[in-house]
Amino acid sequence: MKPFTYERASDAKAAVQAAVETPGARFIAGGTNLLDLMKLEIEQPQHLIDVGRLPMATIEDTADGGLRIGAMASNTKVAADARVRSRYRVLSQAIVSGASGQLRNKASTGGNLLQRTRCPYFYDTSKPCNKRQPGAGCAALEGHIRESAILGASRACIAVHPSDMAVALVALDASVETLTPSGETRSFPLMELHRLPGETPHLETHLIPGELITAVVLPPLPEGGQQYRKARDRASYATAHASVAVVGGRIALGGLAHKPWRAADAEAALASGATAEEAMGVELKDATLRDENAFKVPLATRLVAATLREAAQ
């Protein structure tokens, strides 16, 4: 690890201010992603602002019947919350399908959203990677990698976003609340948090530098069934090759793109009477396939069909 200085933020405003004023500063919450990458010197912050103990770990009912989840609420706390389990079960299911019990105890809601890709070439510092070093090239393009994107990929980057939780949150139409560097709070759909790679895969979100995620807000209980399914190489403790969150008529896909993917075309096709297979045919018509990841088309199609059936039960 490269040397860095460390401070524990006293409140959210002070954290944002420190982030803006200190060169090379980063927030650290659970640390389970940032420290992993710092040990490999993929991340090299000069200063860490520990936001882990800010009083933003509560889960509260909102006036309109939704739920406001503080950004520091641990993944375990959210998955175990009685309201989440009864009203937003897809979120609980998605969280407990990710990582391990130890990691979920430490991981925060905000940190989970901002975790970086697990592309093996991103992790292998002996290989070129546009995400690590803009303009260096992408080793995954010539490499062997099953866990690459089939939707929204670019010639610069074919990595996928690994969060399970975020897929459920997109299907739930959640929004993100932040504190901006100018001290304002803003709120926007979580679906608009992450970017596609384009020519700048090192830019992963639409957050302003120094902006702090303070909460994730769930709208009132949606109509229709909910279900999360995840397909992976092992039964547990592995990231998704494909995952699906269904909430009523909404579908979000994980493991297929640089961001949690709202399957709007499939939703529209289903709404006008298509079968799940036909709907996924529409959704995946522009999929960019490689020898190693073409299996994701039938996998995602069958996963969506099964998840829709289960959600309807």
Partner: protein, 167 residues
């Protein structure tokens, strides 16, 4: 950076390089080498300890993040002459070969039983229902602890036994 962490009931106050992980703090600074370093990247569970009663991977946390916390390691769970029931169950069921993963397995298992008691759901069950203690649940909840010697069947038996739940 001055940091005080209570380890197994004893307050330890040290001046630390912020880079010191909680794992290195335990092993290198307070010489409690029971907690093991396997992967150092959150992938194996060998470094599992209890922080304020909750299991985490000590390798993916900085010691300075734990100022004021209470940490329990394998040395704090029990002693050779007064074993913790989970330690005794691992012996009874021969739940290890080389033993390298064992301190992490035992701390994790103690955490798992507390999590089931606290009704924290898992991927093995219906998230809408009360958390239950079954072999499937134990396997899923312990998936963050890898055993290269593959003592898994005995580990599951030991945990069920320690919970008084062996069929």
């Amino acid at each position: 950076m001055r940091t005080t962490i209570t380890v197994n009931g004893e307050a330890r106050s040290l001046d630390l390089d912020p880079r010191t992980t909680l794992l290195d703090f335990l092993r290198e600074k307070v010489a409690l080498t029971g907690t093991k370093k396997g992967c150092d990247h959150g992938q194996c569970g060998a470094c599992t300890v209890l922080v304020n009663g909750v299991r985490i991977n000590a390798c993916l946390s900085l010691a300075v993040m734990h100022d004021g916390d209470e940490v329990t390691t394998i040395e704090g769970l029990g002693a050779p002459e007064a074993l913790h029931p989970m330690q005794q169950a691992f012996l009874t069921h021969d739940a290890f070969q080389c033993g390298y993963c064992t301190p992490g397995q035992i701390c994790s298992a103690v955490g798992v039983l507390a999590e089931i008691k606290a009704d924290i759901p898992s991927h093995a069950g219906d998230v809408g229902a009360q958390a239950r203690l079954t072999a499937d649940e134990v396997r899923e909840r312990m998936s963050g602890n890898i055993c290269r010697c593959s003592a898994y069947p005995q580990i599951v038996d030991a945990i069920l036994d320690a919970a008084g739940n062996l069929p």
